[in-house]
Amino acid sequence: MPPKSGHQRAKNIDYEDNDGYSDEEDYEEEEGGGDAMTDEDREQMRLGTIQVKEALGSSIPATDAQIQESLWHYYYDVEKTVTYLKNKFSPAQAKASTPQKPKIVSKFDQAANAAKSETKPAPGAKPKPGQTKKANGEKLAESIDKLTVEEQPKVKSKNLNVVEEFEKSGMKRMANFVVIGHVDHGKSTLMGRLLYDLKVIDQRSIDKLRREAETIGKSSFALAWVMDQTSEERSRGVTVDIATNYFETEQTRFTILDAPGHKDFIPNMIAGASQADFAVLVIDASTNSFESGLKGQTKEHALLVRSLGVQRLVVAVNKMDTVSWSQARFDEISQQMTAFLTAASFTLKSITFVPCAGLTGENVTKKAKDPHAKWYTGPTLIEALDSSEPAKRKIEGALRLTIGDVFRGGITNPTSISGRIDAGSVQVGDAILAMPSGETATVKAIEVENEPVDWAVAGQISTLHLSDIDPVHLRLGDIICTPSSPVKLLRSFSAKILAFEHVMPMSVDVFRGRLQAEGKIKQLVATLNKATGEAVKNKPRIVKPGEVARVVVELEKELPLEARTRVVLREGGNTIAAGLLEG
């Protein structure tokens, strides 16, 4: 009898103790209001409350508790909080709030309201002290035992025809792009610059970042810090995980997915790239940098996004300031990259080259002022972004959303997920199914670009606040689908792949979005003709880099994968192959 795999037997996932949602610390947070907040949180909350109060003036009778709940909801964004509260309290909107903001009245709000109008409890409601939560206000805490609160109603679906709603909404064109390229080539700086020049990030925040970056001797990274927010990323001066940001032009609403360039974080880069409609490839034009990138992640990232289905590429030839805006250097890089990219099956007409300098901001949102740059008459980076064809979206059909993050969306939303909707649509009140756990949940609320909405469609990266599910059943890379049309689980599949490295029967890590799983290439079925897909050689011993082949992959455990899904196979830190799952 073969030995039972030690890996299987020994697997012992401590869901109960360590899932991070049932642990005491968090529990307290739920019961004790702000007590479990960090000092930073508390300070922000204190300052925010003062600012909101000032902005609202005396005409709007919002309590501290209401202000703080709203601040929490909007991540301390004073402006949004003020707008929200104004709308909420203005008599005209009190009954019919705007459809874009169907904010469900939380228990927190209800408690706050009830505390204010303590004298007239909601008719018919029985006191249920166990369901009320303590809030921050001091008076509130005293009166809490007496007040009565209606149980929060279950979210009802409006039964919208989302496809129709989407069409008649006349929604602006939207596009998600991933920013890729070799480490340190200036991706984050370029995106920080873009947001700064478009005034998405205000002067004050930038000044603050500048000061902070200076104190640790990394002043050149101030703009990159708009993207690089964790202490690890800042102290090491390297992006680790995808940063998501938004901006809009007259024609399009864009989502930036700023990817890490470091080889170690390619799994995160893949997660970002699989949510993108097109890619911005950033190349450092300075001496030797372009050349070393071409041997490294400039090449690997470009091949990866192509294999993940990205057709269009804006190549930002960056740091042009370091080569005095040399046209010869720009042409050299463009030529070499064109040769490489067309060999990698990008079509000529889908590649645009743009010279720029993120640090100085030249040719990002405005033309370069440098006199050496006169030769260039083409588009700025933002113009190039704006001229991208809108991507096709599979709005009709069953819902498919790949979970990119599981987190606490705030006090009232203990279980939230985010990710791109790959197909179909979702609306508030929908029942959804998580795979592979097979657990159902209810969509309590939806957010797109940090704004509450009634529905979301394919192509949008959205946050779903869920109820009726334990977060244990939601893991990165899982698929959310329509219960009536669940995604199938596969243990082994055949795939048509493009080999990046030599492929032989071997252990591999299989990637799809945030999903990362262990598997084996079981069989090399045949090498294929690149253009026709016909078999060239059956049962090859090895598949060489650049060849297309059909292989059979066996997974360690069943996973939700469907035909036409794009997968990446990696081993020992290298991308071995990428391609299309056939079933």
Binding site: R9, I242, T347, F407, N529, K544
Partner: protein, 409 residues
């Protein structure tokens, strides 16, 4: 494993060996040695019912030595338990000939083995290796990423995943950074607690047994392993945990390309680690597999894998003196089918004795063995290129698609 008594006729392979497993790893050796049709004698407990003269039935547990003719084995890697099923081969007053019995082999309990088909060269080599106690390297390793950690113990012949720790860590998010940091903190504390439970540092008896400290390796992509070490240091100081403080100097940090167990092979064969650890079988086997795959990539006909291909290569005289290497997984020699085992023993003997090549039997419980398993459990490095050892390809040499064309994928 201690060889208590050997009565093997090296020429004909007949005779018995009496062995005493002393360490958990010895059970793995026993599992590789014991096969169907072998005769195994060990201590057994049987429930025996006696009918008294008065007609009442009394049940009694009796300990006895029992010999069985092995029909199957069952080994659980995690716990190291080995159960050997068979038919009773020597009768006594309680047990009938041919009745079924499962012997549970245990540490520090001797057993005697007689090979059903005689002790062949591979079995003798395994026996020698099992009883060689000179090279007893042991290493603990935690191979990790954000939110997952695999706690492993690595010995000369095995890599065992003791526990996988998974803690959900929210990703970096605007306004939600706190969740990420808290998640990582929780992940580190869970991993450390789990690791300490396995290492059992506080246990006086175990630390008395092993006077040398076992090295602990932390590996990850990115900075996770480094941050974890910083966390361990801070915790050790904060709590004043003496055994943990004592462990700190023997912790190594290394880079791995993934958080998965199979990335361990690349870590353990990296120069930074091999210089710190003694030359292990593990590192040697990894180096051999690396050499093989490098040759395979060159695709010049000097590296072949798969049973038929390798047999043809040996027949053609390609795996001989001057660099020929035959690589086999020890899984092949656990074959239930006696003829199958003979096939591989014959090949081993031919390469060693006739061709003059090198033979390596890799442990299927190490990553190098797993890589070989993926290639069909057998591979060879040839001294000269040989072509067409595989079946004839069906398709002809079609032209490849033109560059820049729309690709099929």
């Amino acid at each position: 494993m201690r060889l208590l008594k050997s009565a093997i006729d090296a020429k004909h392979g007949s005779g018995t060996a009496t062995l005493l497993p002393e360490e958990p790893e010895d059970m793995w050796h026993a599992y590789n040695l014991i096969q169907p049709t072998d005769l195994l004698r060990a201590r057994a407990v049987r429930r025996v019912s006696k009918t008294s003269d008065a007609g009442s039935v009394a049940s009694q547990r009796i300990t006895m030595d029992l010999t069985i003719s092995v029909t199957s084995t069952d080994f659980d890697i995690g716990s190291g338990q080995l159960h050997v099923a068979g038919k009773v081969a020597s009768e006594n007053e309680y047990v009938k000939l041919g009745s079924h019995h499962t012997l549970d082999l245990e540490l520090n309990r001797k057993f005697t083995l007689e090979k059903g088909d005689g002790w062949d060269s591979v079995a003798l080599e395994m026996l020698r290796e099992a009883c060689d106690s000179t090279n007893r390297a042991e290493l603990w390793a935690v191979i990790m990423g954000e939110g997952t950690a695999n706690i492993c113990v690595i010995t000369e012949h095995q890599t065992i995943l003791r526990q996988r720790v998974e803690v959900p860590v929210p990703r970096k998010r605007k306004g939600g950074l706190d969740g990420h940091d808290k998640g990582m903190e929780r992940f580190y504390s869970t991993t450390l607690a789990t690791l300490l439970r396995h290492l059992d540092l506080g246990n006086a008896s175990s630390s008395a047994q092993t006077d040398k400290t076992v090295p602990l390796l932390l590996a990850s992509p990115g900075f996770v392993a480094q941050s974890f070490l910083a966390y361990i240091k801070a915790e050790a100081t904060r709590t004043g945990n003496k055994p943990l403080l004592a462990l700190l100097p023997s912790i190594l940090v290394a880079h791995s390309s993934s958080p998965h167990v199979h990335s361990l092979s690349e870590v353990l064969s990296s120069p930074t680690i091999t210089t710190k650890l003694s030359d292990t079988k593990y590192a040697r086997e990894t180096a051999l597999m690396d050499k093989f795959t490098t040759l395979l990539r060159q695709d010049d006909g000097r590296a072949w894998y798969g049973p038929k291909e390798v047999e043809r290569a040996v027949e053609g005289g390609g795996v001989g003196r001057g660099g020929g290497v035959l690589l086999l997984s020890n899984a092949l020699f656990r074959a239930h089918n006696v003829a199958e085992r003979k096939r591989w023993v014959t090949l081993v003997d031919r390469v060693r004795e006739v061709e003059g090549g090198e033979v390596r039997v890799l442990s299927s419980l190490h990553e190098s063995g797993k890589r070989l398993e993926a290639l069909g459990n057998v591979a060879a490095i040839l001294t000269f290129p040989m072509e067409d050892l595989d079946e004839e390809p069906e398709g002809g040499a079609n032209n490849n698609g033109g560059e820049g064309d729309e690709m099929v994928i």
